[in-house]
């Protein structure tokens, strides 16, 4: 009997002895990896900062990650796109604010800034495949690599852009008002 016939029969249970057998076909197995996997990569971000308004535009973003063997390249690229967009959101836009009484001030999308399509450039995504040595497929995780590499890349690009003014750090999210204030502080202290 072929597997397809078994599966069909399992879900067409009118001939089942129901006191002995439930319909359905499922199986659960757990895999405990012998070790963690360690994807690594390099993210390069280019920004333009408008010194008059404090607005940062991400003009170029390239992400290359080593995630071992790539089984489905399209899913991998989409996952990295989503992660980089999330990371740009974290670096530039998203932040929870509370007032002195503990009232959340960013309780809706009128105030909480999610990254939108016009906040991100066309990404350049690449992969490098150094196979993982301790699982049969040679795969590593790709779930979070986009969101891990991008925030520091964006922030470092902003700091680099402002380094001539003596700026050494800026906290996330680097909103237009915060970048503008950072520039004013740098001008005042120079």
């Amino acid at each position: 009997m072929a597997f397809g016939e078994v599966a069909l029969t399992a879900y067409v249970p009118h001939n089942f002895p129901h006191d002995e057998l439930e319909p359905g076909l499922d199986e659960t197995a757990f895999y405990d990896p012998a070790n963690f996997t360690f994807p690594g990569g390099c993210h390069i971000c280019e920004v333009e900062v408008d010194p008059e308004t404090g607005v940062t535009e991400v003009t170029n973003f390239t992400a290359v990650d080593d995630i071992g063997r790539v089984i489905n390249p399209m899913i991998v690229e989409g996952q990295v796109h989503g992660g980089v967009a999330q990371g740009i959101g974290q670096a530039l836009l998203e932040g929870c604010s509370y007032d002195a009484d503990g009232q959340l001030l960013t309780g809706s999308y009128m105030d909480y800034t999610m990254p939108r399509a016009d906040n991100v450039p066309n990404f350049k995504v690449g992969t490098q495949s150094t196979l993982c040595t301790h699982n049969t497929l040679g795969v590593k995780g790709v779930g979070e690599v986009g969101a891990i590499g991008s925030p520091p890349a964006v922030i470092n690009a902003i700091v680099d852009a402002l380094s001539d003014m003596g700026v050494k750090d800026i906290s996330m999210p680097a909103t237009p008002s915060k970048v503008w204030q950072t520039i004013q502080n740098a001008k005042a202290s120079s």
Partner: protein, 264 residues
């Protein structure tokens, strides 16, 4: 949402009469502010008088001036070839309001009557020295916007059109809130001969206002560099999590410069 009585008026007289007879009535134009406010139970009018079906309020007439019926949608203004050729800055302003859904429902009369401190149209009205026509009288823009969400409209008074004189040149420059994309600062600059009028929305703690310092600097020389030494006091400006008042003050000058550059 609380209960209310709904009336759909077909002409101005009927709308005004129904409003007069209501205990606590309100007109509804495009509903883009009113409906969210009702949903959040921030308003509870006894009666809503829907004027979407009133004839003759959604026309655009261009002669010596640009007359826009109060029920004209932002999308209609944005795509009007007559407005585009007479006052391109006004069409561009309308094109930048909200999103496509808002632009296809929201109206100029509703926007002006609501006088939201971050709305775009009040800046155009003030800078272009518009006349707001109602069922009772004509009101100059300088007298119309009296404070945050406050106007010179009497109870039950209905805007029928907004009339804009044609400037020599004009431009509107908006710095949007990164989340809501309402104006944090919007500056409308208009030049009429030797006179320059500059209106600022989004920034004032009492709603839209004219920036006298910028107007006088530009009257001397209508160029961005005329504003190189201009400053705006942050004292009467809004301050919130997106923009502190001194940042808004700086943005006003920056947006004014960019508007002048776009207009010249």
């Amino acid at each position: 949402m609380h209960d209310f009585n709904y009336h759909k008026a077909t002409n101005i007289d009927e709308a005004v009469k129904v409003h007069q007879g209501a205990e606590d009535g309100t007109y509804m134009a495009g509903g883009q502010t009113l409906l969210p406010t009702l949903k959040q139970r921030l308003a509870s009018p006894s009666d809503i008088v829907d004027i979407a079906g009133v004839q003759d309020l959604s026309s655009i007439d261009v002669s010596n001036e640009v007359s826009i019926g109060s029920m004209t949608t932002h999308a209609a203004v944005a795509s009007s070839s007559e407005v585009l050729s007479a006052i391109p800055a006004l069409a561009h302003l309308a094109e930048g309001i909200g999103d496509p859904q808002v632009r296809n429902r929201g109206t100029i009369g509703g926007s002006v009557a609501n006088n939201d401190p971050a709305a775009d149209y009040p800046a155009a009205c003030l800078a272009l020295n518009a006349t707001i026509k109602t069922n009772q009288r004509e009101i100059q823009a300088d007298d119309f916007f009296t404070g945050m969400f406050e106007t010179a409209l009497e109870e039950g008074e209905l805007i029928t059109s907004v009339n804009f004189p044609k400037p020599d040149t004009a431009a509107y420059m908006k710095f949007p809130n990164p989340a809501s994309r309402y104006a944090i600062v919007g500056v409308f600059v208009a030049k009429f001969g030797a006179e320059v009028r500059v209106a600022v929305t989004g920034a004032g703690d009492n709603g839209v206002f004219r920036a006298a310092e910028i107007e006088s600097a530009l009257a001397g020389s209508f160029s961005p560099s005329a504003l190189d030494n201009s400053t705006i006091s942050p004292d009467d400006l809004l301050s919130d999590i997106h923009a502190q008042s001194d940042y808004r003050a700086s943005l006003i000058v920056t947006m004014a410069k960019r508007a002048v550059a776009a207009a010249s």
